[in-house]
């Protein structure tokens, strides 16, 4: 069994996902956390390396997209029988409001879990969960 598979299995048993986050370099770079608000909700605390426009300062659209995609991947690994890192087939994001330099949240919803393909929707907000900063959808291949 591979290292990641082992880490995922351990986390699925004991509920501690920090070793998995630590093992994925891009997750570390973004600084993604498992928020304590509720299950399936992830938090991205403000971090300088996620800024795209320093004059505002605003979150880089790509960092926000990356955070939402990463959240979807963790959500899949946490909630289903997925032991490998799912492969993204396509990812689409609607930017609804500017992302400010503050805590950003993502809530993931599995829309369909097929044999090979999984469709995940992700909503992202900052101060008010009713005022979305972005909404994304993604298809992943699992095997």
């Amino acid at each position: 069994m591979s290292t990641i598979a082992q880490l995922v299995e351990n986390a699925q048993k004991n509920g501690d996902w920090s070793p998995c986050i630590e093992a994925i370099p891009y997750a570390r770079l973004l600084g993604i956390q498992l928020s304590e608000i509720e299950a399936g909700v992830f938090c991205l605390p403000p971090k300088k390396s996620n800024i795209g426009n320093p004059t505002l300062p605003a979150l880089h659209g790509g960092a926000l997209g990356g955070f939402m995609e990463m959240s979807a991947i963790f959500h899949l690994m946490m909630s289903m029988e997925v032991h490998k890192v799912p492969k993204v087939v396509d990812f689409s994001i609607d930017y609804l409001r500017p992302g400010h330099f503050k805590n950003t949240y993502a809530r993931c919803e599995i829309v369909r879990f097929g044999r090979k393909l999984v469709n995940v929707g992700v909503d992202s907000w900052q101060d008010d969960s009713q005022k979305l900063v972005a909404r994304a959808r993604a298809q992943f291949l699992i095997d």
């Binding site: 591979s2 390396s49 800024i51 880089h60 790509g62 997209g65 993204v88």
Partner: protein
């Protein structure tokens, strides 16, 4: 009147070079060519941007950031004056994994400009443009003229302060 490409170059340089530790730095993205309606970029490989430590393949989110930037900067070259072009939406198709330890190149282009929207597309490849690893379409806001007059002034002043008037 079309935006001065020299001002676009200054904006790119300011966003990518002057702000140590921002997202472009963290990912290792740089602009390699600026044309009217088209921007080329390069993303160097580093261990920090890996999504799967077992294969060393770059995370899809990094490709999203690269193509978002490439489409966005391409959009800014289609403006009348230097301004930001907020992303309306973006779709990325991941056609295949990026080969580890090799740079990823991105080429973006504007294919239509209307009064309020700039339509762009971009590909990411690793040396063979006929075999892209990812493809993107992105739409960007074309804001009313004058919205970013202060932004332009701030940007160009900051550039002169950092790189000197003669840079």
């Amino acid at each position: 009147m079309a935006v001065d490409l020299e001002e676009i170059r200054k904006m790119c340089e300011l966003l990518m070079v002057a702000n140590q530790g921002d997202h472009f730095h963290a990912l290792g993205i740089k602009v390699t060519d600026i044309q009217r309606n088209s921007i080329a970029m390069e993303l160097g490989y580093s261990d920090d941007i890996v999504g799967n430590p077992e294969t060393g393949v770059i995370h899809g989110g990094v490709i999203t950031a690269l193509l978002d930037s490439c489409c966005g900067f391409s959009a800014s070259t289609a403006l009348d004056e230097l301004a930001l072009t907020p992303t309306i939406d973006l779709r990325i198709d991941h056609l295949g994994p990026a080969e580890p330890h090799k740079p990823v190149y991105a080429v973006g282009e504007v294919y239509r400009v209307t009064r309020s929207v700039i339509f762009t597309r971009a590909i990411a490849h690793q040396g063979d443009v006929s075999r892209p690893i990812a493809q993107a379409v992105g739409n960007f806001s074309r804001m009313e003229k004058g919205t970013f007059t202060d932004f332009r002034h701030t940007m160009l002043t900051a550039y002169d302060q950092i790189f000197g008037e003669d840079a």
